[in-house]
Structure formats: structure tokens, C-alpha cells
Symmetry: C2
Subunit: 138 residues, 2 copies
């Protein structure tokens, strides 16, 4: 019995095929998809699944601490099954959102406490630029 099964059981949540598929898909991809993108990606395997189920499931996964929400400045949210605090970069030309690998900014929370009276818990860091693909198309 794996972690996921145990966690769902602990919270009296049912591990349905839809939930399992959505989480597995988020774990498998580095594309930081929106709800709509998840819905489209899973449609071939789950043609009857509704978009509302995607929204409800990602919310559940977030509450479980299995997924985090990203806000890159679009009119929708994106989701990431990597729940560690890590920076992202957005291509302002094609809209893709990538992780920035190996860059560590965990010291930022402590560093900023010297400049504010807040108790600082976490941060979100989004870079904006032009991805290699879009640089080529100039």
C-alpha cells in the first residue's frame, strides 16, 4: 500500500481513477499545466471526465499538500506536483513555464526578514524572459 493510498484513507478521501490520473499526470509533466490543460491531456483516457472534476481534484490535492498553485500573471492558475519552493521562468513570447533547475533561493525568506516586521513563511519567485525556442525565431 503506497503513500497515496494511505494518505487518502487517513483523510477519508476516495482514491478514484480520476484523482489518481490527475495526480499521476501532474507528477509526470514539467509543463505546469492549467486546469484546462489537464482536462485536455486526460480526455483521451477519460472522455467522460468533467472540467469541474479537474478543479475539485486539484483543490483536494493542494489541501493534501501534494500540489502547489502557480500564478505567473495569466488569467488562470497553473499547478505543480513539485511542492518544494522553487523558482519558475515564464516565456513572455510563447507562454511556457519552466522550472529553473539547481538554482537555490531558500535563503531569501530569512534574508528578507531583516527588512520587514512580517513573520515570513514562504515565497514565490517568477522570472520572465524569452525561451531558447523563441530566441531562435527572431
Amino acid at each position: 500500500m503506497d503513500n497515496l493510498t494511505a494518505l487518502f484513507k487517513e483523510k477519508n478521501l476516495k482514491l478514484t481513477p480520476q484523482r489518481y490520473a490527475i495526480y499521476k499526470y501532474l507528477k509526470s509533466t514539467k509543463s505546469h499545466p492549467s486546469a484546462e490543460m489537464i482536462y485536455e491531456a486526460l480526455r483521451p483516457d477519460f472522455p467522460t471526465m468533467s472540467l469541474a472534476t479537474v478543479y475539485k481534484t486539484v483543490k483536494t490535492l493542494i489541501e493534501l499538500g501534494l500540489v502547489q498553485e502557480l500564478n505567473v500573471g495569466e488569467d488562470n492558475f497553473r499547478f505543480d506536483a513539485n511542492v518544494d519552493t522553487h523558482p519558475h521562468i515564464v516565456c513572455t513570447s510563447c507562454g511556457r513555464v519552466d522550472d529553473i533547475e539547481d538554482a537555490v533561493f531558500e535563503h531569501l525568506n530569512e534574508e528578507v526578514e531583516n527588512y520587514t516586521n512580517y513573520k515570513v513563511n514562504t515565497h514565490k519567485l517568477y522570472f520572465y524572459g524569452v525561451c531558447p525556442n523563441c530566441q531562435g525565431e527572431l
Copy 2:
């Protein structure tokens, strides 16, 4: 003739009382208001102004480079007449959004270029924590 008048003239835009008031209000406040909050704040002086005008105006101001948009993870946008790249902190208890004064993170763009093939232009940095007011209420 001030800068604002000149800039609007250059772009063939009209400097209406509504636009002037919205920009002046954004310049005057540190609260990073949403469109709705701007609308409510100016309602006493501009009781006939519509919310659509607020939305249209902030969009215009952004295109002029006079205002920037923030995405702290709410279901709406906030606006800031300080267009310099600077970090913000969000109170997860009461929702207020503050500047972090004096903290300089301008080196981040260059630093991160070592970890990605993107051409990096700018970034947005949001901290999350508990503000002094809300710390007292525990």
C-alpha cells in the same frame, strides 16, 4: 506641462479626469489595490464612474509603463504605480500586500541566467507571511 500630459499627448490619448484620478490615487497609496478597491476609493469623488472605466484605465496605464500588475495568488489582480522591480509580501491572514522596503534583489536576474538558457528580463517576487497586526491577534 508635466510628464503625464506630454506622454498622453504623444500617444494620442486623452487625459480625462477619471484617468488622472486613478493614476494619482495609485501614486498616492501603498495598498496595492485591486480594480474594485480603486473603484470604491474614488467613488466619493467620482460617483458616476463605472468599474469598466477603472479596468480600461489601468490597462492603458500599464501599456504606458506607468503601472504594473501584481498577482499575489488571489482571484483578482492588484496594481502598483511603482513600476520598478521590487519584492512584495502578502499577509496570509488578512490579505494585505506591502512593499519590502530597502531590500534589493536586482542581482537575481543575472544570477539566474547561469541556470537557464532563457534570456531573462525581469522577475516578480512575492513573500508570504503574517503581518505585525495579525501576529498580535494570536
